[in-house]
């Protein structure tokens, strides 16, 4: 990183959304070849700032300089022309198209008589080969012929990066790229990013994980409530200082956990088998038990059946065989509603598709599972006053940053959307809680809050099944840990940091249950 050449300079960027001052006079500098981290709480205005830079959002005021020249960016097209690439917080891929089609979209003229040949896709194979070559050159593994809808999130992420690289970029923005990645994928991504930076590419990276900031960045800019509250050179700061800057108070980065006092088994899963559309066994004779008052962590690499496990318990998909018993009641065959009423609640891994109805007001999202009951409904009519009042209390308790509960959930920042889901599910005081990636996309302050909330639920007697690809989180919260691999539980260990290595090996399928010691009964 050389200090002389500034790739990007933002000056005085401001943006209002109604009453929210999302960006307030922001200045930011990024040098050529620098990896710059943008840090800030949920709703601090990070995505907004990057969307402005990418031409998706018009700023109210401010200037953008690229390589010391003023740049007018009014559309993503102009941003792309200027060599800016962006990997969005919520991926921008067309699921029905193939990887290659997504990558080449808009890279050649739509119609042009002079360049007629370029407007035709003559040979799909040739284009797939070309896209594959670009991916390979940068060490990114993807199948260019695959349909995007069939890809895991990690793969989609790589497609997004290839999309940017294919167009040729000199400034790459990544908005929370690691939120959905496994530790291994994150490590791979970082290695890729480092080699890009060494080649002169400037990178702006948004993340909530402070250890990632320390590991990858050269410099950090911290936002709070739309303002820059600090700039640091990474090697001159530490996680603690950064966390304090972000949240404006002292944050504990470690979880204080008292030993669990497990009671009777509250959730019993017996030889559960789920078969996918293609006949593959997504869950294969999986058995486990969670006692009241304990947190059972399910560690594993994404795509090994975690999704199906959560969905089978909550009644969204129907298992081929096996039993699920919560508090003595058999759940298989019941509707999701009946299961929720039985005290089994669910924090889904995908807040945008399963957790929220984005078009609905925040208030309505809070009562999605209880809207037809008193006090939210009386005499067959919805009671908006009661719903709004309830929403207000949850907004306060869960610190959802929004000017009004009447706004659509789509307007919330990613982390605040997650808080709405959490508020709804935790406030019902569940007896069994299936929490899938509960802190995905949350800032350190909010993560601390969620961890405390989960532990409080545990201590109040809830049985918690914590499904997370974030090994750190599983280790920090769980009383016991099981490892899931290809739809089976391949081993169990006590929830102790000392076992991290062992778990890592089991997650990768290296060690079988017997070798790991103690087959799960």
């Amino acid at each position: 990183m050389s200090e002389q050449t500034l790739r990007l300079r933002l000056a005085g960027i401001s943006k209002h959304f109604g009453a929210v001052h999302a960006n307030n006079n922001i200045a930011l500098e990024v040098a050529a070849g620098e990896i710059h981290c943008l840090l800030g709480e949920n709703g601090a205005g990070k995505s907004t700032l990057m969307n402005i830079l990418y031409g998706l959002v018009r700023p109210d005021a401010g200037e953008i300089f690229l390589d010391d020249k003023p740049a007018a960016i009014h559309s993503p097209y102009q941003a792309i022309e200027l060599g800016i690439g962006m990997v969005h917080q919520h991926f921008m891929l067309v699921p029905t198209l193939t990887v290659a089609e997504n990558v080449i979209l808009a890279t050649r003229p739509l119609f042009s008589l002079r360049r007629l040949r370029e407007t035709v896709i003559r040979d799909r194979r040739a284009i797939e080969r070309q896209v594959g070559e670009v991916a390979q050159r940068y060490g990114l593994k993807i199948d260019p012929a695959a349909r995007v809808s069939s890809l895991s999130v990690g793969e989609q992420q790589r497609v997004e990066i290839v999309k940017a690289l294919y167009r040729g970029v000199n400034l790459l923005i990544l908005d929370e790229p690691t939120a959905v990645l496994t530790p291994q994928e994150t490590a791979d991504l970082f290695q890729t990013l480092r080699s890009f930076a060494a080649g002169g590419l400037s990178i702006i990276l948004i993340t909530h994980k402070l250890h990632e900031v320390m590991a990858i960045s050269d410099r950090v800019t911290v936002l709070r409530d739309g303002r820059v509250v600090g700039r640091r050179i990474t090697r001159e700061t530490d996680m603690h200082e950064l966390a304090g800057l972000m949240v404006g108070r002292d944050v504990r980065l470690t979880v204080d956990k008292t030993p669990a006092r497990p009671g009777a088994p509250a959730l019993v899963i017996d030889r559960l088998t789920v078969v996918g559309g293609d006949g593959r066994r997504l869950l294969d004779n999986l058995s486990l038990q969670v006692a009241a008052g304990e947190i059972l962590g399910v560690a594993g690499v994404d795509g090994n059946g975690q999704r199906e496990l959560a969905l089978a318990i909550t009644g969204v998909i129907r298992p081929a065989s096996g039993a699920i018993i919560a508090n003595g009641q058999a759940l298989v065959g019941r509707t999701p509603r009946q299961i929720a009423d039985a005290g089994v609640r669910h924090i889904p891994e995908d807040r945008q598709h399963m957790g929220l109805i984005l078009e609905f007001p925040i208030a309505d999202n809070f009562v999605l599972k209880a809207f037809d009951r008193a006090p939210y409904t009386a005499h067959g009519l919805l009671q908006p006053a009661a719903i709004t009042a309830y929403a207000q209390t949850l907004i306060e308790r869960f610190d959802v940053r929004t000017p009004s509960p009447a706004l659509p959930a789509a307007n919330l920042s990613g982390g605040n959307q997650q808080k709405v889901v959490l508020g709804r599910e935790l406030d019902s005081q569940p007896r069994v809680l299936v929490a899938a990636q509960p802190t995905r996309g949350l800032d350190v302050g909010a993560t601390e809050y969620v961890h405390k909330a989960l532990l409080a639920q545990r201590d109040a007697g809830a049985a918690i099944l914590l499904i997370s690809t974030e090994l750190e989180e599983v280790l920090a919260l769980s009383d016991r840990i099981v490892v899931i691999y290809e739809g089976r539980i391949v081993g169990e260990v006590p929830g102790d940091r000392a076992n991290a290595q062992k778990i890592g090996l089991m997650m990768a399928g290296v060690q079988t249950a017997s070798q790991a010691g103690g087959e799960y009964k």
């Binding site: 995505s47 998706l56 969005h88 921008m92 699921p95 198209l97 808009a106 407007t119």
Partner: protein, 308 residues
């Protein structure tokens, strides 16, 4: 041998009846793939029919009439776009309004200019025999002994399919109906693509309407489109949002039109009203058979707003 002649005539009529449906449905397929549903096709076809007739009558050139019909319908298509794409109004309601406008306006124009004209006939569009190919038994007369607009319709569908599947433009259109925001972030204009697709769809609906007046009936009759605009909407679904699918579905529906005419002519002891409903019943049956099938573009009917 007589039944072969009958079959040949039936199929020839099938293709003839399918052509206006093909034009309109292929155009609508583009619009819907881009994410805009225009249920105002009936109105656009009527505008096309009356414009083509009036211009052909006045100028003596059927082709000038067809061109004018396409342009006139396109103007209304762009107006539809202003209301639905730019202003974000509900597409169904706006389309319904477009149908009413088309019906009223076409009748008004016809009465205003032709109310007092006695000889309203125009030169029919002549049949062009394709050399050699028209000699093939049965298929020859069916496919290669038609007027030029029929040939255009038959060629349009594969060409439209090729553009949709094999060009950068087609890729952009397919994207914008599925995930407009992703399309925008790739650097394309959602608004521009949608306007283009809607205008193209309207143009073809105008040509479809023109076909009815200048290539089929050789005159204009009030409300002569008789529901074909709505059938074209069903054809788009039946054809699974693909231009070639639309062609096959058009032929199927063209067949029901031709069949009911044949049956009427054959003097069968069924009230002709029952025969006339055949294509419409076929539409309803087709829609029931296809329920739950979703090749439908994800963002169909959803206005695009630039939301962060």
């Amino acid at each position: 041998m007589e039944w072969i002649v009958g079959l040949q005539a039936l199929l020839q009529a099938t293709v003839r009846m399918a052509a206006p449906l093909t034009f309109t449905a292929v155009g609508e397929t583009y619009g819907e793939r881009a994410g805009v549903i225009n249920i105002g096709l009936e109105g656009l076809m009527l505008i096309g029919a009356v414009t083509a007739y009036a211009v052909a009558f006045a100028s003596g050139s059927i082709w000038l009439g067809v061109l004018a019909a396409g342009l006139a319908a396109m103007v209304f298509g762009v107006l539809f776009g202003v209301v639905t794409i730019t202003l974000g109004a509900n597409q169904i309601v706006t389309g319904a309004a477009l149908n009413l406008v088309g019906l009223g306006l076409s009748s008004f124009i016809y009465r205003a200019f032709f109310g007092t004209v006695t000889d309203r006939a125009i030169q029919p569009l002549e049949t062009v025999k394709t050399p050699l190919l028209s000699q093939i038994p049965v298929l020859g007369p069916v496919l290669f002994e038609q007027n030029l607009l029929v040939y255009a319709a038959l060629l349009l569908a594969p060409l439209a399919a090729w553009v949709l599947n094999r060009t950068m433009l087609g890729l952009a259109i397919r994207s914008v109906g599925e995930h407009p925001k992703a399309t925008a972030t790739a650097g394309l204009s959602v608004i521009g693509l949608r306007y283009g697709a809607v205008a193209f769809g309207a143009l073809l609906a105008g040509v479809g309407g023109a076909y009815l007046s200048v290539a089929y009936a050789n005159q204009f009759v009030e409300n002569m489109v008789a529901g074909r605009g709505f059938i074209a909407l069903a054809i788009v679904v039946f054809g699974r949002w693909s231009p070639l699918g639309a062609l096959w579905a058009s032929l199927l529906f063209g067949f029901t039109f031709a069949l009911q005419l044949r049956l009427q002519a054959a003097n069968i002891q069924i009230a002709y009203q029952f025969l006339q409903i055949l294509p419409y019943v076929a539409t309803i049956v087709a829609m029931i058979l296809l329920r739950g099938q979703s090749a439908q573009p994800k963002a169909l009917g959803v206005p695009y707003t630039e939301r962060a």
